[in-house]
Subunit: 419 residues, 2 copies
């Protein structure tokens, strides 16, 4: 690419037509897919808009998007039923008449003839496209039309048809039309043990403009993500900028807070740590009831380091499986520092493994007391060297408390293995 | 409700703020949830719009929505970081100044003080709301403001916070403001052990128009949902229609295939069955690694009937915890009918409970053989009377296989307890 020519970011719009999404019948899975595919190739959506099957609203939104977009993708409303209004509305928005696309009409005729049926007026309507439209795809709806230099792609809402046209026609065409678009790259940095506001405080004096990197913050349950997004003339430029920005971010947040990057979940990192140490893991869960084991075993190959999990919901189970002394349970209660410690050490001993993680707490909604309200959770990690115990308090629903306790326990395990 | 007064449909707008959705970082799960919840109560979304963190675009879209809506819901962009622009943009769109909400600011201060931290300028910004705004919720972002008779609800993008405010404040307020809206009702019928195509075959001759009920089919993992939706002047009308339609649907699908309705998950039904029998449950999981225990313990009060879970990932764990004979593991392999049976019976005996469920299989992606390919799963349920074993084969990713195996195991337990 010539460096004398300037590249620019290509921002477009996605318009989805269909009452079924607005009525909550189906989730809009197309938008996320399209946004991701475009971004990975250096295109970006400036807006995603879903409207129903009313011509006026479709016309209005197409017009709005054309004012703000380098390209437009519209999905849905191209079928044969009465509430398929996209073609008619697009003709109005683009200021051209609807004309019958003869090849497409002929194809529809032949296809129906093969099934021994005649072309119904409803199906025939599918061949009426805005003047100047180019049919996209074979055996499915979809067309392309250029309007004042803006490429407009009209795709079927059926996910596998949309995906086919996007991959085979839309993205290649966009890449041809915008060769000088800026490349872009993105990196997720997974931060543990810092609040979103604390992260922001530590990073907000970084000059994103100077670094030419956008910094974003996304709380993901108890884990916070810092995302670095860079656009540039080449992938190499982006990579250099992101590496430079990451160095600054890590310096401010502390390397010990960073558990991984991109798809590197904390359970994957823990797996690698255990393999490196040739250690086996056992977990003992009470209030999390399987959350931690489920996440550990979500990683392919977990059987190489995960030996077993004890879900000791009853006190009897804690005594029988983990050898937690009954008097400890009586004197301190199941949700207590000594019991958490005894669970971790018992799990480690009984399983005959190197490291064990234990969680005991009150997930609620009932079972809380003034001294130990719902959300009180003790987490313990036992290794050959030491047994650590932490007390935490989590707010929220039963599910939120269970999820938070599981995440926090995994962080304790990760920290312990990082020593 | 007086029949002389005409009811009407109340159509509103949903605006989602956040670059992360436009960039394809995360899928927008909130919109589907909100659309579904609103519709179930007789409200409807006319448009769902997602824009990025640019003030101008947010202002433009809020103004557009206000022109077309009886109500407006905005999610996201209320946090403490620099790219949280919703409050500032809404003030501009509504033509009022931003003012500091003193109670909220005080609450933020106190909350941080509890953690031994000072109120940073970033967090303090969260208390700057459009003049006239009413704070919504405790311990989370969110506010309400009425503009020219249009209620506008600004909610956090964090799903569990949004859901809490939607259920406890937004929907009750909407119902109070619009009592004369067209009523509508939706019922989900949870069907086990029938493919979507089989359900469709059995139901497609039902005349939805004659019943005045819309019938939908939604596969949810291994479980299939049949949804019945009806609108009318009163809840009574809707209820009568839906009850009549359900009777026809159940007659065609078979009552023994229906595990529950609406929020009645199979794990909740299993809990009720166990309480009624005064039975205790134990589970022994290998390939599902905690999925089943997690679902069982997701139900509040599970400790009344769930005693313990064994996650026996290694053969040693199967032998030590469940007393599975070593020669059985050697001769048949861990993934086999006899081992599944021995795991269920061992779990029942060792835990000293009435019923035990066991799962052993190959979740993949590796570990498959020609005789036992990835996706091969044995499921067993042991009661005082009998031990049932089923062999299943599931296609898909590791996660899909684990989820399918867990769901299928819960169905076996439910069927067994239904006898």
């Amino acid at each position: 690419m010539s460096n004398t020519q300037k590249t620019s970011e290509i921002v477009g719009s996605l318009l989805t037509i269909g009452d079924e999404i607005l009525l909550g019948d189906i989730a809009d899975s197309n938008s996320h897919y399209i946004a991701w595919e475009l971004r990975a190739r250096g295109f970006r959506l400036g807006r995603i808009i879903t409207v129903g099957d009313q011509v006026e609203e479709i016309v209005e939104m197409i017009s709005h998007c054309l004012l703000k977009s380098r390209f437009l993708i519209v999905t849905g409303g191209l079928g044969p039923t009465d509430d398929d209004k996209t073609s008619a509305a697009s003709a109005i928005a683009l200021g051209v008449p609807l004309v019958t696309h003869l090849d497409y009409r002929k194809w529809l005729e032949e296809r129906l003839a093969q099934r021994g049926r005649d072309l119904s007026p409803e199906v025939a309507r599918m061949a009426d496209l805005p003047e100047g439209a180019v049919k996209l795809g074979q055996g499915m709806a979809g067309f392309f039309i250029e309007h004042q230099g803006i490429p407009c792609y009209f795709l079927p809402g059926v996910p596998h048809e949309m995906k086919t046209l996007l991959a085979e026609l839309v993205i290649p065409d966009l890449e041809k039309r915008f060769p000088l678009r800026t490349r872009c790259m993105k990196r997720v940095i997974r931060v543990q043990g810092l609040l979103e506001s604390e992260i922001n405080q530590r990073l907000n004096d970084l000059d994103a403009r100077e670094m030419a990197v956008e910094i974003g913050y996304y709380p993901q349950g108890r884990e916070n993500w810092v995302t670095l997004f860079s656009t540039g003339e080449s992938e190499k430029d982006c990579l250099e900028r992101i590496d430079a920005a990451e160095a600054k971010v890590v310096a401010r947040l502390g390397a010990e807070r960073i558990s991984g990057r991109n798809e590197e979940t904390i359970e994957k990192v823990i797996g690698r740590q255990l393999l490196a140490k040739k250690w086996k893991l056992a977990v003992a869960e009470s209030c999390t009831g399987g959350w931690v084991a489920k996440r550990i075993t979500a990683v392919a190959g977990a059987s190489d380091y995960f030996d077993r999990g004890f879900i000791t919901y009853s006190n009897r189970a804690k005594m029988e499986l983990l050898k937690v002394p009954g008097d400890l349970l009586e004197s301190h209660g199941a949700v207590s520092e000594p019991v958490a410690r005894a669970m971790a050490e018992g799990a480690r001993l009984q399983a005959g493994v190197n490291v064990a993680l234990a969680i005991t707490g009150i997930a609620g909604p009932t079972g809380g007391t003034p001294e130990k309200p719902v959300g009180t959770v003790f987490i313990s990690c036992a290794t050959p060297e030491e047994t650590l115990v932490e007390k935490h308090f989590f707010r929220g629903s039963r599910e939120v408390i269970q999820e938070s306790a599981a995440q926090t326990a995994l962080v304790l395990l990760w920290r312990t293995l990082s020593k």
